[in-house]
């Protein structure tokens, strides 16, 4: 009865003990039961849509970052359930009087739940990237979007777990799931309402840029991803730090550290939001000046794949499978102009030509550009619905032909977008805008005739009896063609000249063009002079 004990020296926690605790939590974590549900959600929400898209690494990576939309709410709810475990099961007293700080025990439980969630996510990433490796013609996996997705998963788990541990209750899990879902939706809403800080939104990959316009011709810009990682890490650290604030969590030193962690997490998240507020959309992605590395602006090197047509069409090897369709779309027009003075000698695919941010998180992309000497058509496909992205190959060919082929003719005869046939193109390197006047009528008539001969769709050049082209109509995919805003009236005389010229034998028409194209472009040919 009188065994007064001398204080024993403090023992350090053996290194293996945390690992054994984690192993126990991993084996008996309720998240295990959710694995099939999470896998099904991933398959429905990520894998199937990703596989429906063309096998571009950047497109698939974007889908992987978006996975958190499908997994996040469920994970938050599930981890809230896990976090409230001790409270629900009446174990608070029992675990509260153990030597391991309560905070450390909770972090172990969170880590186990997060490990399973990450296992599902990263397993899904492995499958998607594995399939993409088989399908893609060029490039390799992008890891920044995956890192953001993985951080999003961990953060959803941390937020849910903290909610469950700090506010254990019957409805905490459901509330956590709903709140995370609303937060994800609210980010999109804020972005739509032009809140620049909302660029930090977890599902925002490269702003409103089409998914195939970044990460191929130029390196993937990690600026926004870095800010998002900072934001997510900050939120997760703050949530997990908050677990260490209650008096029962541990020593005053430990609680001080938890408070410092919470504050640091909130500061990091706030800083990330501030950085996102400085983001601007550029041609190859979102740039945050404070995080931007100029080396990312250097184009990636690649060997283009080219068609063997009269005017070669050269594309990025990632787009190798679309080369026949692009050649088929532009071939008829290129055949008509090949070899003519000032006609393009090659079509080269580019990422984008110009990008202009618009309200409501919109973006306006420039159309093709002709420049250089000899002239080259720089053709962006961004913004077009590629085969596999909701359109068939035939629809893609038709869209490309109706949007971009007329522009080649406009440039050839010296018309600007407003003056000529509907179609988006601008020219660099030589003057294509003649002085306005009646002589422009000849240019329109020749362009119409060449379009007719090339078999362009009625949406492009109708040669209709009412004498009007639908130039004031908005092109499909007009977001990439800001130039077509005016209208061109076609007189009966123009129509007649166009029909007359189109009816000429090809050799005669070509001979006339070789002789008169310079004069036509300079506005020195009248309608009556057209054969």
């Amino acid at each position: 009865m009188t065994a007064a004990l001398a204080p024993a020296p403090s023992r350090r926690l053996p290194p293996a003990a945390p690992a054994r605790l984690l192993r126990l939590e991993l084996r008996r974590n309720p998240m295990l039961w959710l694995l099939p549900v999470l896998a099904i959600l991933f398959w429905l929400g990520v894998y199937r849509p990703a596989m429906a898209n063309p096998p571009f690494w950047n497109v698939r990576a974007t889908d992987l970052q978006h996975a958190v939309l499908f997994l996040g709410p469920l994970l938050a709810g599930a981890t809230a359930w896990v976090g409230s475990r001790d409270g629900r099961l009446g174990l608070t007293d029992l675990v509260g009087v153990t030597a391991v700080p309560r905070w450390a025990g909770q972090l172990t439980t969170w880590a186990a739940a997060t490990c399973w969630a990450e296992a599902v996510y990263l397993g899904g990433v492995a499958v998607v990237y594995g399939v993409t490796a088989e399908q893609a013609h060029w490039g390799g996996p992008l890891w920044w979007p995956v890192a953001v997705g993985a951080a999003g998963v961990a953060t959803c788990c941390a937020l849910g777990f903290a909610a469950g541990a700090l506010l254990p209750g019957r409805f905490t899990a459901a509330l956590a799931a709903v709140l995370v879902f609303l937060a994800l939706g609210g980010g999109a809403f804020a972005l739509q309402n032009n809140a620049t800080y909302a660029q930090i939104w977890l599902l925002n990959v490269q702003g409103a840029l089409p998914r195939d316009s970044y990460g191929i011709f130029y390196p993937y810009l990690p600026d926004l991803a870095i800010a998002q990682l900072m934001f997510l890490a900050g939120l997760a650290v703050a949530a997990l730090g908050a677990l260490g604030l209650p008096a029962a969590a541990g020593s005053s030193w430990l609680r001080g550290a938890a408070a410092a962690l919470t504050a640091a997490g909130l500061a990091a998240a706030g800083t990330a939001v501030g950085l996102a507020g400085t983001a601007r959309l550029e041609a190859h992605g979102i740039v945050i000046p404070a995080l931007h590395d100029a080396a990312s602006d250097m184009p990636t090197s690649y060997t283009p794949v080219c068609s063997h047509s009269v005017v070669p069409v050269c594309m990025h090897p990632a787009y190798r499978s679309f080369l026949p369709a692009v050649t088929a779309a532009l071939g008829p027009v290129l055949d008509q102009v090949a070899g003519l003075p000032g006609a393009p000698v090659r079509v080269t695919q580019v990422a984008v030509t110009t990008v202009q941010q618009e309200s409501s998180n919109g973006v306006q992309l420039g159309g093709p550009v002709i420049g250089g000497s000899p002239p080259v058509v720089y053709l962006p496909l961004a913004g077009l619905s590629l085969p596999g992205e909701g359109s068939t190959t035939a629809q893609f060919v038709e869209a490309l032909r109706s949007q971009d082929a007329p522009a080649i003719l406009n440039t050839l005869v010296g018309l600007s977008g407003q003056q000529g046939l509907p179609g988006g193109i601008s020219a660099q390197g030589y003057d294509v805008a003649p002085p306005p006047g009646p002589r422009m009528a000849a240019q329109v008539a020749v362009a119409m005739a060449l379009a007719k001969v090339a078999g362009l769709s009625p949406g492009g050049v109708p040669l209709a009896d009412d004498g009007r082209t639908p130039a004031n109509s908005t092109r499909p995919g007009n977001a990439r063609n800001p130039m077509v805003k005016g209208s061109t009236s076609v007189s009966a005389a123009q129509l007649a000249a166009a029909r007359r010229f189109a009816a000429l034998p090809a050799a005669m028409r070509r001979a006339w063009l070789v002789t008169h194209l310079a004069a036509l472009r300079a506005g020195q040919v009248t309608l009556s002079e057209i054969p």
Partner: protein, 254 residues
């Protein structure tokens, strides 16, 4: 003394659960008796460092649990079975006991043997791999006792440990208590005076937050001499006599 308590009080709002308890205990088994609401569980929870006292002095295993460092050291050497035992339904018995062994910061190398020993001592050897959700109430109670003794505590606090145990289990549990009491201070809160008589070397009786008797069981039995206290067994009669005396004294004071 492993337990040194002086003037200990605990208040929950307007309710005075523990009202100035003085108690000391060394190795051995101390039975804590008392009617419902006497303050036994509150006293045990303070001794288990679950809740701090409102006032008074509390030293456990030679340390003041008011400081985090000493409290952590006490917790390493503490075993506690709460009145309402929660459990993780998906854990097996062995995992449940191992979990608490690790939380008590037992050296990893010792954990497997300690878990096996604790499970055997509580008679759950054949159920070591059974999920807790599949066990009966009595088996769950034994699993709770196993986690309490897994670290071979120097201070073992058991709140209603025999609730739900069948007579055979209670007999073997009393033997376990006596065994633990040879080296450690065991405090058992119970309503069952026969457990006290069979296993406890000391007994304390609480009423209205105060210790109204502290002595050996024979002394408690002797308190019934010359009274017409109710009870089927001598210890019960002693319990009733002390309680009646305490109540009349309290009434007289009022």
């Amino acid at each position: 003394m492993n337990v040194e308590i002086a003037g200990l009080t605990r208040r929950f709002g307007r309710t005075q659960a523990v009202a100035g308890v003085d108690l000391s205990a060394g190795p051995g088994v101390l039975g804590l008796l008392g009617p419902n609401g006497a303050g036994k569980t509150s006293l045990l929870r303070m001794m288990a460092t679950v809740i701090p006292p409102s006032s008074g002095r509390l030293r456990l295993l030679g340390r003041d649990p008011g400081g985090y460092g000493p409290r952590r050291e006490i917790r390493r050497r503490l075993g506690y079975l709460p009145q309402n035992l929660g459990y993780y339904p998906s854990f097996t018995v062995a995992e449940f006991v191992e979990y608490f062994a690790l939380l008590k910061e037992m050296p990893s190398a010792r954990v497997p043997a300690a878990v096996a020993t604790a499970i055997e001592r509580t008679g759950l050897g054949d159920k070591a791999r059974a999920r807790l959700r599949t066990l009966s109430g009595g088996m769950l109670r034994r699993a709770g006792i196993a986690q309490a003794i897994v670290n071979e505590p120097e201070l073992l606090l058991l709140d209603e440990p025999t609730a739900g145990l069948d007579p055979e289990q209670r007999v073997s549990f009393r033997a376990l208590l006596r065994e633990c009491g040879e080296h450690a201070t065991v405090v058992v809160s119970t309503h069952l005076v026969e457990d006290v008589g069979a296993a406890c070397s000391e007994v304390a009786l609480m009423n209205q937050g105060k210790i109204v008797f502290h002595g050996i069981p024979a002394e408690l039995i002797a308190r019934a001499d010359g009274t017409d206290a109710a009870g089927d067994a001598p210890l019960e009669r002693g319990y009733s006599a002390v309680l009646a005396a305490a109540r009349s004294a309290a009434g007289a004071c009022a």
